[in-house]
């Protein structure tokens, strides 16, 4: 029997039923890999449901630095009868299938290229526990214990994880460790030599953390001094505000008075949530909302107001699979275009594209700085994969010398000392950005009327075509200023000279970088450019112009970033080749490689060494 043999390089998938306690067991498994010092990429594939439907948890393990999905499954832990057949068929030839053999596998399960690992989870738990809930919960812990043996993960790591997890609930520690031991022992006694996948601990995770992106975004908001959040519940963004509230309660409650140095309101809808953000930002507080595609649609009206009246505000869009309700618990990068041009009339918005939780933290901070400096909304485009899955990344970092840049806001003294007449929308610095005032600052100076209707430099209503065009032109100038301030793209230069480029962003980054590496092994060099923000800096156009053609790798059907590049940089569309994954699952390196190969075949581009031989 062929067996997949691998050390520190495999994909394991858990098939469970949601609401059965599998999530915490599976998280514990992923964390054991993290603590073994290896790269780990867990993906939770869950239904839009509370209890009883199939859910999967895929964990990729490796030690070469790859953090994207690879594609394929080497080891399946099958505990869900509803999907067992499909799970059985999904495993790669030579892979492993761990199942509950309290009952035999049905006769239809016929594969001679699979290694079966039967663990009688039900029998073990029925024998050990009398409480039905415990029987269910501990099944998950038993299979984790078995994996500890089968994959050579140090048992001590699990003991420590259990102790950390149940800190404060000590009486749960011993039974959990006992359940781990039951699984470990059974596997050792019955499957001593079955599994050829193994973990060899290394020390690759110094200075790293394993955390979800939404937590990073929320912490970024805390460190940016955000005090107001208006929001409406929607998957997959809800945990942004949950995390913000959790850390506010820990870090933002005045120790002497017990009063909150923050205000969070669950609004009646997304319209209202965005209105609250603008009201608070207009009034000098840093404020944000978190939503997903459907909410972005509703917030568009306010985004237009904020663009034209020049009001700051941060919108976190944790994208999910659209259109409409789409697949609410699956991922996509499909709000790129609607976010960039949200609202009627000529509008453009600054967008940031984080790729991992560390960037969520940094870009969340950046978003508050940019929105106040540029006096226009900033949209953070995260997604479900980044927001809700644990992602391995560099630890969050903060420099205590950092001070907030609140942009051009006039103080009482500045208003007092002002000789000339103040105008809210006067462009005094030739950067398209005026000086604003906060209500309540000065008794007689600096008041103005904020409006979404056409206004002149002094914020007075006007229907003058000239004044209108002046203000639209100034907004364009501000857009040029923004190009200098937003995070620059990152260049990944190939080892050898490359005529082909690849552009990617956000959660397409890790799999793209891996695919570039894999393609380089075939002696085809590709330069990479990771886009971090919209508007695009001049470097992006330069990058495209320097290559024969450029792949644009993204997770939507229509090539939204490609459209944006063509439109904004006046690029010949023929020079951009889309690689598009939009099935709701995070993009894999294997898929990108296939697409690259297919394109190169069509273009008859041969690897260097073959070309030399011809």
């Amino acid at each position: 029997m062929h067996k997949i043999k691998a050390t520190n390089d495999f994909v394991i998938k858990f098939a469970n039923i949601n609401g059965t306690g599998s999530a915490s067991a599976n998280n514990m498994f992923a964390k054991s890999i993290f603590r073994s010092g290896l790269q780990v990429t867990p993906k939770n594939i869950f239904p839009s449901n509370i209890q009883g439907l199939p859910t999967w948890y895929e964990v990729r393990v490796n030690d070469k630095g790859y953090l994207g999905r690879r594609g394929g499954v080497d080891f399946m832990v099958a505990t869900n009868g509803q999907t067992m057949k499909q799970d059985f068929e999904e495993v790669l030839p030579g892979g492993y299938f761990l199942y509950d053999n309290s009952k035999p596998l049905p006769p239809s399960y016929q594969r001679d290229d699979l290694n079966l690992i039967g663990i009688p989870l039900t029998d073990i738990c029925n024998k050990e526990y009398s409480d039905p809930r415990q029987r269910q919960l501990f099944k998950n812990i038993v299979y984790v214990g078995a994996l500890s043996y089968l994959l050579d993960i140090e048992f001590d790591i699990f003991q420590q994880l259990v102790q950390d997890q149940f800190k404060g609930k000590e009486k749960l520690i011993t039974p959990n460790i006992h359940a781990l031991e039951l699984g470990y022992r059974y596997a050792k006694e019955n499957h001593e030599t079955t599994c050829e996948l193994s973990i060899e601990a290394k020390d690759l995770n110094k200075g790293k953390i394993l955390v979800d992106g939404n937590t990073g975004t929320a912490l970024g908001a805390i460190y940016a001094g955000a005090t107001v959040a208006g929001w409406y519940p929607i998957t997959p963004s809800t945990s942004v505000v949950d995390a913000f509230e959790k850390y506010c309660k820990r870090l933002r409650v005045c120790p002497s008075s017990g009063q909150n140095n923050f205000a969070i309101i669950q609004a009646e809808d997304e319209l209202s949530a965005m209105g609250m953000v603008l009201g608070a930002s207009w009034n000098g507080a840093r404020a944000f909302t978190a939503t997903s595609g459907p909410g972005l649609s509703l917030m568009s009206e306010f985004l237009g107001l904020a663009y034209f009246a020049e009001i700051p505000g941060v919108l976190v869009d944790v994208q999910r699979t659209g259109p409409s309700t789409g697949m609410p618990t699956r991922t996509q990068q499909s709000d790129i275009l609607p976010a960039a041009y949200a609202s009627h009339g000529d509008t453009k918005h600054i967008c940031l594209y984080p790729a991992n939780p560390n960037e969520c933290f940094k870009m969340s901070f950046d978003a508050f700085e940019l929105t106040e400096q540029l006096q226009t909304p900033v949209i953070i485009l995260s997604d479900l994969d980044l927001g809700m899955n644990d992602n391995l990344c560099d630890a969050f970092d903060w420099d205590d010398a950092t001070h907030l840049n609140r942009g051009k806001v006039l103080s009482k003294d500045e208003l007092d000392n002002m000789q000339e007449r103040w105008g809210r929308y006067l462009d005094l610095d030739d950067d398209g950005i005026g000086y604003r005032t906060i209500p309540g600052t000065h008794p007689t100076k600096g008041s103005y009327f904020t409006r979404g209707s056409s206004h002149d430099e002094y914020a007075a209503y006007t229907e003058s075509s000239e004044a209108y065009v002046r203000s639209m032109k100034r907004l364009e100038k501000k857009w040029e200023t923004a190009k200098q301030l937003v995070p620059a793209p990152q260049y990944f230069k190939a080892q050898s000279k490359a005529n082909i480029g690849a552009i990617f962003y956000g959660t397409s980054t890790d799999a793209s970088l891996e695919a570039i590496d894999l393609t380089a092994e075939k002696e085809i060099a590709i330069n990479g450019l990771k886009i971090n923000a919209f508007p695009f800096s001049d470097d992006v156009k330069k990058f495209i112009d320097e290559h024969d053609f450029v792949f644009v790798i993204e997770q939507n059907r229509d090539g939204q970033l490609k459209t944006l590049l063509v439109n904004e940089l006046n690029i010949n569309p023929a020079n951009l080749v889309s690689i598009l994954n939009y099935d709701g699952m995070p993009i894999t390196a294997n898929f990108i490689c296939q697409e690259i190969d297919a394109t190169l075949d069509r273009a008859k581009i041969t690897p260097l060494h073959k070309a030399e031989r011809i």
Binding site: I222, N261, E268, W282, F396, G440, T444
Partner: protein, 350 residues
């Protein structure tokens, strides 16, 4: 504009306690139709702020879209104003108030802006008991789009187009009482004697204060068959009584007939002294208020004046437990936890 307001002021204009003249509370010239009820309401807001000696820059004027929502440009020119989007003023006011609880928030809206496109936001700002004055300039029609019926138009009432409105109307006062507003009043733009003390009391009330002001539209809805015309309102108005607003410092000297006069102390120590015309009305009881409003409606009358008052309801900030300081005044020390804390947080993810 074909003319501008003269800039010459009489040197001996009366000043209020903080040294401002009435002119310091004026705004730009109104562009509404001559005779529009809204202009009278603007004048009453201006007069109330002058008499209460509120520093103009301590007021924020919030509005949505429509004729009514334009008015904040025409009063309190030294205050910041925010003319937001249609029906969304409540959320913007909520955010603004969260950022700075120390300002006076005066929201101005219309019947379309509130009872149709903004009904959801209106309902929820009431529920949250945001500390603001919410004035509806209610004319039963859409002015800027040339006179369509609004959701507050009474069934059977006909505007200039002459077609009686077939739909039942939304009573914003009853809605607000049902949703838990602490201060609910109705008034008429033509009755400044009533409106000014109502606005002053509403400003002094902590929490959500609604004043639904019937404000005839002279251009589209001042017809013989309209229930919101000047004539109809004047003929059918019936007040719950008259009342005086007594600022904190004033001593109460006048004696009133017991039973008919009621005094209610507001959160800031000022008081409302009511001289009730309707003996049945218990201002502290939502049920009594609803009952009286409906009873008058049955008779074809419009009940105006204070309808309901509960000065003790906790406002949004109290419900949230927010700091007494305006959130927009908090410094980096209070807001940013620093590197050491972040390092500890990092450890929890390892």
């Amino acid at each position: 504009m074909s003319y501008i307001r003269p800039n010459i002021r009489h040197p001996q204009l009366p000043v209020n306690e903080i040294g401002f003249t009435r002119a310091d509370y004026e705004g730009a010239l109104s562009t509404l139709c001559a005779g529009c009820g809204h202009d009278s309401i603007s004048a009453s807001i201006l007069q109330s702020c002058f008499e209460l000696s509120i520093e103009p820059h301590k007021v924020a004027k919030m509005s949505g879209i429509g004729c009514s929502s334009k008015t904040p440009a025409y009063f309190l020119g030294n205050s910041h104003g925010f003319n937001s989007v249609h029906g969304r003023m409540p959320s913007v006011a909520t955010g603004a108030n969260l950022a700075n609880r120390d300002l006076v928030y005066i929201g101005v809206s219309g019947d379309g802006d509130t009872a149709s496109i903004g009904m959801g936001q209106f309902a929820h700002v009431v529920r949250r008991n945001l500390n603001m004055v919410y004035i509806v300039m209610n004319n039963g029609c859409y002015g800027l789009t040339k006179g369509q019926d609004s959701a507050t138009a009474d069934r059977g009432s006909a505007s200039k187009k002459g077609v009686p409105n077939p739909y039942s109307s939304i009573d914003l006062c009853e809605t607000a009482i049902q949703l838990g507003a602490g201060f609910v009043a109705r008034s008429f733009s033509g009755d400044k004697e009533q409106l000014i003390p109502l606005i002053k009391a509403a400003i002094s009330h902590r929490g959500f204060a609604l004043i639904d002001v019937v404000s005839p539209c002279v251009t589209f809805n001042n017809t013989a068959k309209s229930t919101k015309s000047y004539d109809h309102v004047r003929e059918h108005v019936n007040a719950t009584g008259t009342f005086d607003f007594v600022p904190l410092k004033e001593e109460i000297t006048t004696q009133y007939e017991p039973g008919k006069t009621e005094e209610i102390t507001l959160h800031d120590g000022s008081a409302i002294r009511l001289h009730k015309a309707t003996e049945n009305l218990d201002f502290n009881s939502p049920r009594s208020a609803m009952n009286e409003i409906e009873k008058h409606k049955e008779k074809g009358e419009i009940l105006t004046g204070l309808l309901y008052l509960n000065p003790q309801t906790p406002d949004t900030h109290e419900l949230l437990g927010t700091t007494n300081k305006p959130l927009n005044s908090l410094t980096e020390d209070a807001l940013i936890p620093g590197k050491k804390v972040l390092d500890t947080i990092n450890e929890s993810f390892q």
